[in-house]
C-alpha cells in the first residue's frame, strides 16, 4: 500500500473515523456504500423469496385460484419494495411478522367469519351448477329390463353416433337421429360392430387417447325411437350401451328444473336447494349466504338453549377452577422447594416438571385407562377395588377432568412461580422481616402481590387456553356422560368447544360448518371480552 492511497482514504480536512463524534449516527440502511456483504446476502435471500413467490403465483394461475394469486402478487411486490427501497426501515423488520399475522390469523378469522354467514355443510358443499349436475345424474335411470348392447362409437364428419348390435342387427343413431337399422355392417366375435357403411368406426385406442372425445361420448344420448318415452342409449365405458330414461330437465334460462313426468317445477330457494311450490326438494343443494341465521339459531333454538347454558356454566367453572387449583398447587410447591434448606432441589424440581413434558393427549388417554371403574388402577389401589364410576357419573366425571387437568398443568405453574419467586427483590423481603412481619404476613402482603404482577397475565392466558381445552375433554370423557333425556348429543363434561364439535355434526354425520363457525365466533368473542377485562384489572396490580 502506497502513501498515496492512504491520503485518498483520509483526505485532508475530514475528521478521523471516530464514531462517538458523529452523533447521531446515520442508519446503516442509508449509508449504502456499494456491494457490501450484507447487500449480497439480501440479494440472495430476496432471489429465493422471489423464486418461491413466482412459483406459487404460477401454480395459483394454473389452478385458477385468483384470490390467492392476487394476494401473492401483492405480498411479493410489497416484499420487493420494502427490502429494496431506502425509506422503509421499520417495515423491513415488521414485514415478516405482518405476513404471518395476515396468513395465519386474519385469514383464518376472516374465513371463519365468512363461513358463519353461509350454510356450508352436508348437502350444501358446491355451486348451483354442481347441484344441477348431481340432480340430473341421480335422476337418470337404466330402464329395468334393458339389455346390454355391444357398442361402437361411430363418426360421420362432425356427427358422433352410437352403433349397437341389437341381436344381430346393427343399428346406428346420433343425438338428433333415433336408432336406424344399417345393412351390411360387420361385427366381431364379441358382437361389437367393426365396420358400418356410411360411418367411420372410432377405434378404442383413439377413444382412449382423446379426452375431449371421451367427454362427448359420455354426454351423448341416442334416442331409441322417435318417442322420447322409450328412453335413450347411453354408454359409460364406451363398449356397451343400455337404455336410460330421465325425468328431470334443466332450463338454464329460467334456472328451473322440471319433472317431465309430473310437471313439477323445482326452482332455486334462498336456502340453496331446488324446491317445488309444494315444498318437495331435490337431494343435492349448494351453499348460499344465509345472513345471521346461524347466529340466531345458536341463541334461539330451544333444543340447544338449555343444554348449552349448562355447558357454558361448566366451561367457566372448568376454566376458572383449573387455573385456580393448578396455580395454587404449583405456587405451594414452588414456595416449599424454593427454600434453600432443601437438598437435591434441582433434581426434585426437574421431576416435578415431568407431567408437563408429556403430550397432553397421551396423559389423558392413560388417565382414562387408570380411571376405568372396573379395570383401572385408581379404584384398585386407592379405593379398595370399589367400582367407582369416575367417567360415568356426571359429578365424578367433572372431578376426574379437573383432577387430570390439575395433574397436567400444575408443573407449568410450579415452573413459572419458581422463576418469579427467585426474581423477587431480596431487600424488600428483608425489610419486611426487619419490620417484624411473620411468614404469612410476608406472603400475603409482599410475595403474593409481587408475584401477581408477573403471573396474572399468564393466568389469563391459561384461562383462555383452558376455556377451549378440547384435547382433555375429548380424550378423557368425550364429553360424556350424556345428559339424560336430552335432545342434543351433549354431555356433563362437554365444554363449549367440544359441544360445538358435537352439535355441528363435524364429528360425523351431517356436518354444518356454518353453525360451527358461528358458534366458534361467539366463543371467540366471549374469551376476547373476558381477557380484555382481565388484562385491564391486572394493570392495577402493577401499581403496588
Amino acid at each position: 500500500m502506497s502513501v498515496g492511497t492512504r491520503t485518498a482514504e483520509h483526505p485532508p480536512g475530514t475528521p478521523p473515523d471516530r464514531p462517538d463524534e458523529r452523533a447521531p449516527r446515520e442508519s446503516h440502511a442509508r449509508d449504502w456504500r456499494g456491494l457490501g456483504w450484507g447487500f449480497l446476502v439480501k440479494l440472495a435471500l430476496m432471489a429465493v423469496v422471489n423464486a418461491g413467490g413466482v412459483l406459487a403465483i404460477l401454480s395459483a394461475y394454473q389452478v385458477g385460484a385468483w384470490v390467492v394469486l392476487g394476494a401473492l402478487v401483492v405480498l411479493l411486490a410489497a416484499a420487493d419494495w420494502i427490502y429494496f427501497a431506502r425509506r422503509t426501515l421499520p417495515l423491513k423488520y415488521m414485514f415478516p411478522g405482518l405476513v404471518f399475522l395476515v396468513v395465519f390469523q386474519m385469514f383464518t378469522l376472516g374465513y371463519t367469519g365468512y363461513v358463519a354467514f353461509t350454510n356450508y355443510g352436508t348437502g350444501h358443499l358446491g355451486s348451483m351448477q354442481q347441484a344441477v349436475d348431481a340432480a340430473l345424474i341421480q335422476d337418470e335411470r337404466q330402464v329395468e329390463d334393458s339389455p346390454e348392447y355391444p357398442l361402437a362409437v361411430v363418426r360421420d364428419g362432425d356427427a358422433l353416433g352410437f352403433a349397437v348390435n341389437d341381436d344381430g342387427t346393427v343399428r346406428v343413431g346420433t343425438a338428433e337421429e333415433p336408432l336406424e337399422t344399417v345393412g351390411g355392417a360387420q361385427v366381431d366375435d364379441r358382437g361389437t360392430p367393426v365396420a358400418v357403411p356410411g360411418w367411420e368406426v372410432v377405434p378404442r385406442a383413439q377413444l382412449f387417447s382423446d379426452a375431449d372425445l371421451q367427454a362427448e361420448v359420455v354426454a351423448l344420448r341416442v334416442p331409441v325411437s322417435g318417442d322420447a318415452e322409450d328412453g335413450s342409449l347411453r354408454t359409460r365405458e364406451g363398449s356397451t350401451a343400455s337404455v336410460y330414461t330421465s325425468r328431470l330437465e334443466w332450463d338454464p334460462a329460467a334456472q328451473t328444473i322440471t319433472n317431465t313426468e309430473t310437471g313439477a317445477v323445482y326452482s332455486p330457494s334462498d336456502r340453496g336447494q331446488f324446491v317445488t311450490e309444494d315444498g318437495e326438494r331435490l337431494a343435492a343443494g349448494w351453499y348460499v349466504n344465509v345472513g345471521f341465521d346461524n347466529f340466531v339459531r345458536a341463541f334461539t333454538d330451544a333444543t340447544y338453549a338449555g343444554p348449552l347454558l349448562k355447558v357454558a356454566a361448566w366451561t367457566f367453572a372448568f376454566a376458572i377452577l383449573t387455573v385456580l387449583t393448578s396455580f395454587g398447587l404449583g405456587l405451594l410447591f414452588a414456595l416449599i422447594y424454593n427454600d434453600p434448606r432443601i437438598r437435591g432441589r434441582k433434581i426434585l424440581r426437574t421431576l416435578f416438571i415431568l407431567p408437563y413434558a408429556f403430550p397432553a393427549f397421551m396423559s389423558a388417554l392413560l388417565w382414562r385407562g387408570m380411571l376405568n371403574a372396573e379395570f383401572g388402577v385408581i379404584n384398585d389401589w386407592f379405593f379398595l377395588g370399589a367400582n367407582i364410576g369416575w367417567l360415568s357419573d356426571p359429578w365424578l366425571a367433572k372431578i376426574a377432568i379437573l383432577w387430570v387437568n390439575l395433574w397436567l398443568s400444575y408443573p407449568y405453574w410450579f415452573l413459572v412461580t419458581t422463576g418469579a419467586l427467585q426474581a423477587l427483590p431480596g431487600d424488600v423481603m428483608e425489610a419486611a422481616r426487619v419490620d417484624g412481619a411473620g411468614r404469612w404476613r410476608q406472603f400475603r402482603s409482599i410475595t403474593l402481590p409481587m408475584l401477581m404482577v408477573s403471573t396474572a397475565p399468564l393466568a389469563i392466558a391459561s384461562f383462555a387456553f383452558n376455556f377451549n381445552n378440547f384435547t382433555i375433554i375429548y380424550m378423557l370423557t368425550g364429553g360424556g356422560p350424556a345428559f339424560s333425556g336430552s335432545s342434543t348429543p351433549m354431555g356433563s363434561t362437554d365444554i363449549l368447544i367440544s359441544a360445538i364439535y358435537q352439535i355441528s355434526g363435524v364429528s360425523g354425520g351431517r356436518a354444518d360448518y356454518g353453525l360451527a363457525s358461528a358458534l366458534s365466533i361467539v366463543v371467540f368473542v366471549v374469551i376476547g371480552v373476558i381477557s380484555a377485562l382481565a388484562f385491564r384489572q391486572t394493570r392495577k396490580l402493577e401499581e403496588i
Binding site: G123, A134, Q214, R236, A283, F375, P481, A482, G509
Partner: protein, 414 residues
C-alpha cells in the same frame, strides 16, 4: 484482492441460485402447454387407503398398457377419505375415484359428489347385500369389493367349538365352563357406548334402527320404538349393573380384546380385524353368527367397502372402463382380498376364500346381516343411541330411557 474474489463468488452463487429458482416453474408451464397437443389419454386419480393401494396399482398396470392412460394412486387414511372427498370434489381438486364405505353414501348423494355406476350383467356375480349397501333411491353408486361385519368369536379351548344358537345358550356354555362372572364380553367403547357392535342383539328383538322398504332400501322411519324396542331396552338393563351384571360400561377396545386374549372370558362379539390379536396371543378361535337374544335372527350391520366415482370427474369414461373391466374382475378382487383379508364382495371369490374357517364364520355372520344404513340420517343416531346403551347398562329405567332416546333421534332427523 481477497474481497473482490469473495464478492465474485457471491455474485456467481446468487446468479446460479436465481437460475436454479427460475428454472423450476419453466418445465411446469411447458408440460402444461404440451399436454393437449400430444393428445394424452388423461390421468385417473384414485384415492385409496394404505392397504389397498398396492392392489389397485397392480390392477392399474394392465389398464395403463391397454389405454395409455396414467393412473395415480394417492394414499390417505381411510378416516380422512370421506371428509376430503366431500370437501374437494366441489372445488375440482377431488379424485376421479375413491375407496370408501357404504354408510358415507347418503351424505355423498346429498352433497352431489358421486356419480352413478352400472355393473351391467356382472351385477349378478356380486353378493346382493353388497349391492344393496351401495344402492340409494334405486341407483347403484359404487363398485363394492369387500364386506365386513362383527361375529361371535369363541375361545375353543374353553368352551369348545359348538356354535350357541341363543344368548341364553351361550351364557350357559360359559357358566358351565366356569366363567359365570363374565360369560361374554360386550364391547361398549368404555363409557361412551357402542351400538355398532351390539346391533345384532337389538335386531333379534325385531327393532331395526331404520325401517327398510321392500327392496331393502332404508327409509328415514325410525324402527326402534314400540314394544320390540322396549323389550330390547329391558333386556340390556336386565343384564347390566341392575341385573346379572354381564354388561358393564368399562370395556373399551383394548380391555375387551385383552380379556378375551388372556382367556378371562370365552365369548366376544368383534370384527375380523381383532382376529390377529387373538391368534398372536395363542387363542384358538371359532367364528360363528351372533346368537339371538330376542328370538328373531340376530342381524349385525354389514359394512361394505367400494369404489366411488366422482360426479365431477373429467375422465368418466376412463374411470368407468377401469372399474367395470379391470377392478370388477375376479383376479383384481382376489388381489384386493390378499392385500387385506376382508370378505370379498364377488360371490365366487368369497366362496374361494371360505376354506379359511375364520373367513367362513364371518361370511356366515354377514349373510344374516343387514347393510349398514347409507342414509344421511344415520349420522344423527349414534350419539343418542350409544348414550342410551350406557344409561341402560348403568341401571336406568329402560322404558323412559329408550322412549326419550327414540324421540330425540326423531327430532334430530327432523
Amino acid at each position: 484482492m481477497r474481497r473482490h474474489f469473495a464478492a465474485g463468488v457471491a455474485a456467481v452463487a446468487t446468479v446460479a441460485l436465481l437460475a436454479a429458482c427460475s428454472g423450476d416453474p419453466a418445465p411446469t408451464t411447458t408440460a402444461e402447454g404440451d399436454a393437449p397437443a400430444a393428445g394424452s389419454a388423461g390421468e385417473l386419480v384414485i384415492w385409496s387407503d394404505a392397504e389397498r393401494a398396492e392392489a389397485i396399482k397392480n390392477a392399474a398396470a394392465d389398464f395403463e398398457t391397454d389405454t395409455g392412460a396414467t393412473v395415480t394412486v394417492v394414499q390417505k387414511n381411510f378416516e380422512d377419505l370421506r371428509a376430503d372427498f366431500l370437501a374437494q370434489v366441489p372445488t375440482g381438486e377431488g379424485p376421479d375415484i375413491t375407496v370408501g364405505a357404504n354408510d358415507w353414501l347418503g351424505e355423498f348423494v346429498e352433497s352431489g359428489v358421486v356419480d352413478t355406476i352400472s355393473l351391467g350383467s356382472r351385477a349378478a356375480d356380486f353378493e346382493q347385500v353388497t349391492l344393496d349397501a351401495f344402492t340409494y333411491d334405486g341407483q347403484l353408486y359404487a363398485l363394492p369389493y369387500a364386506q365386513e361385519t362383527v361375529a361371535l368369536i369363541q375361545n375353543t379351548a374353553l368352551v369348545g367349538d359348538t356354535a350357541p344358537q341363543t344368548f341364553d345358550e351361550m351364557i350357559q356354555m360359559a357358566t358351565d365352563a366356569g366363567f359365570g362372572d363374565r360369560p361374554f364380553i360386550l364391547y361398549t367403547n368404555g363409557a361412551e357406548g357402542d351400538m355398532y357392535t351390539s346391533y345384532a342383539f337389538q335386531t333379534s328383538f325385531g327393532a331395526p334402527v331404520f325401517v327398510q322398504d321392500e327392496d331393502g332400501s332404508y327409509t328415514s322411519e325410525v324402527g326402534m320404538g314400540g314394544e320390540q324396542g322396549l323389550a330390547y331396552a329391558r333386556w340390556i338393563q336386565a343384564n347390566g349393573s341392575a341385573g346379572t351384571g354381564y354388561f358393564t360400561d368399562t370395556v373399551d377396545y383394548d380391555i375387551g380384546n385383552e380379556l378375551f386374549a388372556s382367556g378371562q372370558s370365552p365369548f366376544i362379539v368383534q370384527g375380523p380385524w381383532t382376529i390377529p390379536t387373538f391368534q398372536d396371543a395363542g387363542v384358538e378361535v371359532a367364528v360363528n353368527p351372533i346368537p339371538s337374544a330376542g328370538g328373531e335372527t340376530a342381524a349385525p350391520f354389514v359394512g361394505v367397502q367400494g369404489f366411488y366415482l366422482s360426479a365431477q370427474s373429467d375422465n368418466a369414461l376412463l374411470a368407468n372402463e377401469f372399474l367395470a373391466n379391470y377392478v370388477a374382475t375376479d383376479e383384481a378382487q382376489q388381489a384386493l382380498y390378499e392385500a387385506d383379508p376382508r370378505i370379498p364382495a364377488l360371490t365366487a371369490v368369497a366362496e374361494d376364500v371360505s376354506d379359511d374357517p375364520v373367513i367362513a364364520g364371518f361370511l356366515a355372520a354377514a349373510q344374516n346381516g343387514v347393510p349398514m344404513p347409507n342414509i344421511p340420517e344415520m349420522g344423527a343416531v349414534w350419539d343418542f343411541w350409544n348414550a342410551a346403551q350406557i344409561a341402560l347398562i348403568t341401571g336406568q329405567d329402560p322404558d323412559s330411557t329408550w322412549t326419550s332416546m327414540v324421540a330425540s333421534v326423531e327430532q334430530a332427523i327432523g
